[in-house]
């Protein structure tokens, strides 16, 4: 059976700096994988390679067996056409650390934009889907507000609705609570937990260890561009096999 996500030998360099040094990772449908590790370990970069916000120099990423971003033609590895890459990005939904909502659009329009322009949905159908998701994340009553009029937690929940309304195969979360005031973190984490219990496949880069422990089916510990350790969170957090993970966990707040 083909994996939903299959990463093999992923390598990414910025000039002479190697950020990812051969990462392998598989995910099945319904998996919730949290990626932890200190900053600079390559977690975010790996996530951004999956939807081609970053180019990568070596390795392959497949979603449902389809190679993402590159194709081999006559033994030469070539970046796919921009239009094809844009189409492949629909397979994933991404939520960013800084929300990145479109400031000139209402919460509702932020969610319907992709549905109408990318999925070419009729307006009323898009509105219905957008409203359903805004309700799911608990900001429906704010649908007519602009991002600047919403709290950070509300903005991030709109951003989650914007990504998931596109009905992606895989959701990517990039440190989505790092820019939030502490009292707003839980409302966002709760939304993600709800999605997890719905069976949504999610790859989550996070610094929230308690959340990672509770929500994930598997945890990946990234260390200097490689996967340092991976496994069941209940085992990994309690009995880390490597020195590095033990150190990392000790320095992390397990709030």
């Amino acid at each position: 059976m083909t994996k939903l996500l299959e990463i093999r030998g992923l390598c990414k360099r910025y000039g002479a700096t190697e950020v990812l040094k051969g990462v392998d990772c598989d995910m099945d449908k319904g998996d919730v994988v949290c990626v932890i590790g200190s900053s600079g370990s390559g977690k975010t970069t790996m996530l951004r390679c999956i939807n081609m916000l970053e180019d990568f120099q070596d390795g392959t990423i497949r979603i449902d067996g389809k190679e993402i971003g590159y194709e081999a033609a006559g033994g030469v590895r070539r970046r796919k056409r921009e239009r094809e890459i844009a189409r492949q990005r629909m397979l994933t939904g991404m939520v960013f650390q800084q929300f990145n909502l479109f400031p000139h659009m209402t919460a509702l329009d932020n969610v319907t934009l992709g549905l109408i322009k990318v999925k070419k949905m009729p307006r009323d159908e898009a509105l219905a889907i957008a409203e359903r998701w805004l309700e799911r994340v608990g900001v429906l009553e704010r649908k007519g507000h602009y991002p600047g009029q919403l709290s950070g937690g509300q903005q991030q929940r709109v951003a989650i609705a914007r990504a998931i309304a596109m009905n992606p195969r895989l959701m990517l979360f990039d440190e989505v609570t790092s820019a939030l005031d502490p009292e707003l973190v839980n409302e966002v984490l709760q939304v993600i937990k709800d999605l997890a219990s719905d069976g949504m496949t999610m790859l989550i880069v996070t610094h929230e260890m308690r959340f990672a422990y509770e929500v994930s089916t598997r945890v990946i510990f990234m260390n200097q561009g490689r996967i340092g350790e991976e496994g069941d969170p209940r085992e990994m957090f309690v009995t880390p096999r490597t020195e590095r993970l033990a150190e990392f966990l000790k320095s992390s707040t397990f709030a």
Partner: protein, 223 residues
């Protein structure tokens, strides 16, 4: 039979109403054409400056820096006198509008580049992440945000064009300033007629500024 009384300012104004209106009409037409043509050309220049491959970008950079570093009067004189030496004989009106449009385009190009580059990359990334292509991202995400930044400066540029249109008097375009000067040379009433011309220029630019404020108000993002 009494001596002929000298005509008052209002009498002269009445006599000169047609040339004045014609001059005003010329000024408005010239400015309008220069702003429209200059803005359209400026959009092309701005896009080249922002997204062009390096030879194109370099060319656009050379163009804007050269034009912006040249006095408008020199551009006006050059398009009238120099272009004719290479076989392109423009009428004073055409040469004048051409010079102003070129000048306007360099400013609009630079304003557009600044606005587009000030939008955070994260906006483009967010657009990509929901599957928008670049043209879609440009149309629905970048342009609406850039326009809001451009408007105030653009209104300024438009007002500058109206003022710069006075320079066309030196190549004999009968715009408002030249008409006014002709009337003054006939009536010797320099003060009131210059004042009138000043008031008319102010009225045009005040109109442009109000229009800009109105658009700005309509497009402001609530926060």
């Amino acid at each position: 039979m009494s001596a002929v009384e000298p005509l008052s300012f209002l009498d002269h104004l009445w006599l000169a109403r047609m040339p004045l209106l014609r001059g005003l009409g010329f000024t408005v037409t010239i400015s309008f054409l220069a702003i429209v043509a200059g803005s359209l050309l400026g959009i092309v220049v701005g896009l080249a400056l922002t997204y062009g491959a390096w030879p194109l970008r370099w060319l656009a950079r050379l163009y804007t820096d050269f034009i912006r570093g040249t006095p408008v009067l020199v551009l006006v004189l050059a398009s009238f006198y120099v272009l004719s030496t290479v076989g392109l004989q423009l009428s004073p009106f055409q040469a004048g509008v051409f010079a102003l449009a070129v000048f306007c385009s360099s400013h609009v190009g630079e304003i557009l580049r600044g606005a587009l580059q000030s939008i955070p990359v994260s906006q483009t990334e967010a657009a990509k992440a929901i599957g928008l292509t670049f043209p879609q991202t440009f149309a629905y995400v970048l342009v609406p945000q850039a326009i809001r930044q451009i408007l105030p400066t653009w209104v300024n540029t438009a007002a500058e064009m109206v003022k710069a249109s006075t320079l066309l008097s030196v190549i004999g375009v009968g715009e408002l300033l030249l008409s006014t000067q002709e009337i003054i040379s006939r009536t010797f009433m320099s003060l009131p007629f210059y004042f009138l011309a000043g008031a008319l220029y102010f009225a045009i630019n005040f109109g442009i500024e109000r229009f800009g404020k109105y658009i700005e108000h309509r497009t402001t993002i609530s926060a």
